[in-house]
Symmetry: C2
Subunit: 257 residues, 2 copies
Amino acid sequence: MAQRTSGSSPRPGEARPVARINGAAAHELDPLRAIPEATIARLAVYLRVLSAITEGDTTVVSSDELALAAGVNSAKLRKDLSYLGSYGTRGVGYEVGTLIGQLSGALGLLQDRSVAIVGLGNLGQALSGYAGFASRGFRIAALFDADPARIGTTIRGLTVRDVAELGHYVAVEGISIGLIAVPVTAAQEVCDALVAADVTSILNFAPTVLSAPEGVDIRKVDLAIELQILSYHEHRKSARPPSALVRGRAQAQLGDR
Amino acid sequence: MAQRTSGSSPRPGEARPVARINGAAAHELDPLRAIPEATIARLAVYLRVLSAITEGDTTVVSSDELALAAGVNSAKLRKDLSYLGSYGTRGVGYEVGTLIGQLSGALGLLQDRSVAIVGLGNLGQALSGYAGFASRGFRIAALFDADPARIGTTIRGLTVRDVAELGHYVAVEGISIGLIAVPVTAAQEVCDALVAADVTSILNFAPTVLSAPEGVDIRKVDLAIELQILSYHEHRKSARPPSALVRGRAQAQLGDR
DNA sequence: GCGACTTTGTGCAGGCGTTCACAAGCGGCT
DNA sequence: AGCCGCTTGTGAACGCCTGCACAAAGTCGC
């Protein structure tokens, strides 16, 4: 979340007095503007569900169907999609191919992005082998580690480089996203190195809070915290075994994140 | 998120007419009640930061110090902690040991919890070796897989069992949390098996939406989605290179999740 | 013992996100 | 051609969360 300077303050030059041209909202003209953070995460889910649908011969989906498959409310889904513009047909639904194109465009997936993985312990190696990356246009372009025993080895066709050469390879490969999978003690250091190399998006797997200058996006994946959240709910459940089953949630998946 | 039946409807037996005894709010008497979901995730972060602090010889922290280390606003931190009750001393701060105890209690970490990992591919193996689990009282009690080539092998001292025997071991080991690290195609099936075995908390790493009956908490960790969220921001950044650096965020870490 | 200083705990207002409910719009049937 | 049914797109209300600002409350020094 963070604060995200509320209005994004449109510069005086581009006045934009509630621009609205023949029923098209302003954001349709400028699809890069102001999609709520919570929506972004769901758009990625919709995209995945749609990809699964293309396997069959369905060419049109209604918001109800898609919402069910994505595990969300259909009103929410329509509102989410409306941030991209109006690509549905009333009385019919959404054309799958069109929607996939729009979602991909909005998420910036039409251009391939190169990612680097720093740290090739168990987790880093698992990440390097994760098939889900390539299928969404993410190219693992470089692997880095600080352990001399690992440097020079080949993992899934890529040579592990010395993290000291990070800047060089980031520039050469045009890497814009970095994955940090190193021990806590080295995480901030690696983060600084990535920032220094002009990587502006970081996904951090180390269980620690990183700090970076503004303009750099940091997201974290923290397994221990996920478990502790589950533990909390588990604790509550066991503390009031009877009648306490009034916890509303049919198709869970706890949003947040 | 999900809806979470707002009031949790206190049972008629325990009337509780806005209970407030000498300045202590009701939730202090019943620490299991109503902590906002967003707060829970942060409590786990505070706990980790505090643990790091105990390494030194500091025994007291102020909300400002702790907030800085945790990467949040100090007002938010105080409000978060206030859900646990009043354990700070005005003019001084919070006693580290006490706070750790309270946080651990609230998150249900005082009792050890047994977890099972289903699926021992790259990711599952990495998870089984993750040190951060044990240090927070999570005991990896069983490993399951469906691949005959993996069943019977030993990973970090634990024998991999046939997923068909899941129910048996879950009962014997008292497992309450299950980690799903299997391919998408098997995820729902494994989820159902866990639910059938009375596992009521699930952490899903497979990139798919799972459905489970209410009362079962499901959280997901989806790497591809994390990357797509970063991709979106990366896309926006590159689309308006100049002046667009008004993105407020000094010590990022995008809350949500 | 008292005053000044420090830090907590929280009331309140504002913003963001979710949900409902319905008007607008499109296709198909007669 | 006109009507009917279906589905989208969105205005508006609600609720949760955040952040400010300040009163309450404790400590330290004299």
